[in-house]
Symmetry: C2
Subunit: 250 residues, 2 copies
């Protein structure tokens, strides 16, 4: 049952160092076409992909994302954007008022989901070609400047980058949540203890993973890492930015 | 270059009629494991998957989704949920305050993106096994009732369903936006005419597609279909629901 596609999916690890070998135009086209074949809500196709080739722009994006060198050095750098501008322009052709709909929370969700499904198709397609990938959420660190750099109009916002290229390092797979803590039959557990016990179990797995990799120097718990990350709200300007761009007003 | 994975991706069509042959436990496990191997923002794993097997629940979900029979009759029905509850419980173990972060627009986006990347991995894995899939955004038609039916606590919201099963019909692939209208180099086009011309071109393609399929009876434009859909805001209660569940307050 483990066909090549599933083997590719199960072998995923994020790659944070690429050679500078560029993807061919044919490869880029195949990745975009793969992205486009993902499901899309009511055929709305609510995303745009920017391929950043200009080197100074890549350097700038790398800085804006918190100095991540793999944003600058890779085989190709994609930025996936939620896009309802196309629909705004289309509505003018049809002389139809669509603002209320475009500005709803529902359509914000639709555009995020659409763009993410498309991106993951591109990611799997790239990995199936032997390339490595890394998602770059860090583009949201300074989302206003990223948006300006890419000339994004209203009703378009950058969501994340996808760096693709020939891997220059191999990285490990960290153990995911045990399946019984992420997949439930018929309903969410009604007893909070079920969730707590699952977290203790997962903490043991993650601590053990770090312990073995660092010869006992580290033994982080997952809840410790995640709680520390969440103790400071990041990107507090997000709602303002999203609203200013026309999304999620109602 | 067209390996089996890319062939699978490019052959996608949504399947809206399945046989009643159930997926095996092994298949379900493989799909969930595939979902879990998707990238996740800072290893946050902000989603939960509910596998609905109880037949009366499937019937109810089918009704709530607008009487879609393929929600009831399929090989397996998954509901993908944004989940930050696990992190809320984890933060109690660590005696850390994470509410401000959990309730931010940024983390709402992270959980939607995380859940969607995971879902698309499951979708591709299923299709690589010869199964068909259909995303069910219709679960958001009455998201409060779906949430209650699945016993979802605060900080967990259902995003969409994924029906998987043995296809009982074959469906067509509708032509996507031409690549030059969805993929831009270095920046979004500064001239609105570029977008407008692209839409006219795409309208011709879509009209032609319907014309040929219906022996001339239909010739819908894409902008016509999309504008009509968007002329009435759907799911106007979404923001309230999302806020009540603890998401996107700031």
């Amino acid at each position: 049952m483990l066909n090549d596609t599933i083997k590719t999916i199960l072998s995923h690890r994020s790659i944070r160092k690429f050679t500078d070998e560029s993807l061919s135009d044919e490869q880029i086209k195949l990745l975009v076409e793969s992205a486009q074949m993902a499901s899309t809500s009511s055929f709305i196709q609510a995303y745009t992909i920017i391929g950043v080739e200009d080197h100074s722009k890549k350097t700038k994006l790398s800085e804006l994302a918190g100095n991540q060198p793999y944003v600058e050095t890779n085989g190709h750098f994609f930025v996936f954007c939620a896009d309802l501008y196309r629909h705004r322009v289309g509505s003018e052709l049809e002389e139809t008022n669509v603002e209320d709909s475009l500005e709803s929370t529902e359509k914000f969700m639709v555009s995020l989901i659409d763009a993410s499904l498309a991106a993951q198709n591109a990611a799997i397609a790239a990995e199936s070609m032997g390339l490595g990938i890394c998602y770059i959420g860090g583009l949201r660190n300074d989302i206003t400047k990223v948006s300006e750099l890419l000339n994004l109009p209203d009703y378009v916002i950058p969501l994340f980058g996808l760096a693709v290229g020939v891997p220059a390092t191999k990285s490990d797979q960290k153990p995911r949540l045990p399946i019984e803590n992420v997949y439930y039959k018929d309903a969410y557990p009604s007893n909070k203890d079920t969730v707590t016990e699952g977290l203790h179990h997962y903490n043991d797995i993650i601590s053990d993973y770090y312990h073995k990799r660092t010869s006992g120097k580290r033994s982080d718990r997952w809840t410790e890492q995640v709680s520390q990350m969440l103790s400071q709200p990041s990107r507090p300007d997000m709602k303002d930015f999203v609203n200013k761009k026309g999304f999620m007003k109602s």
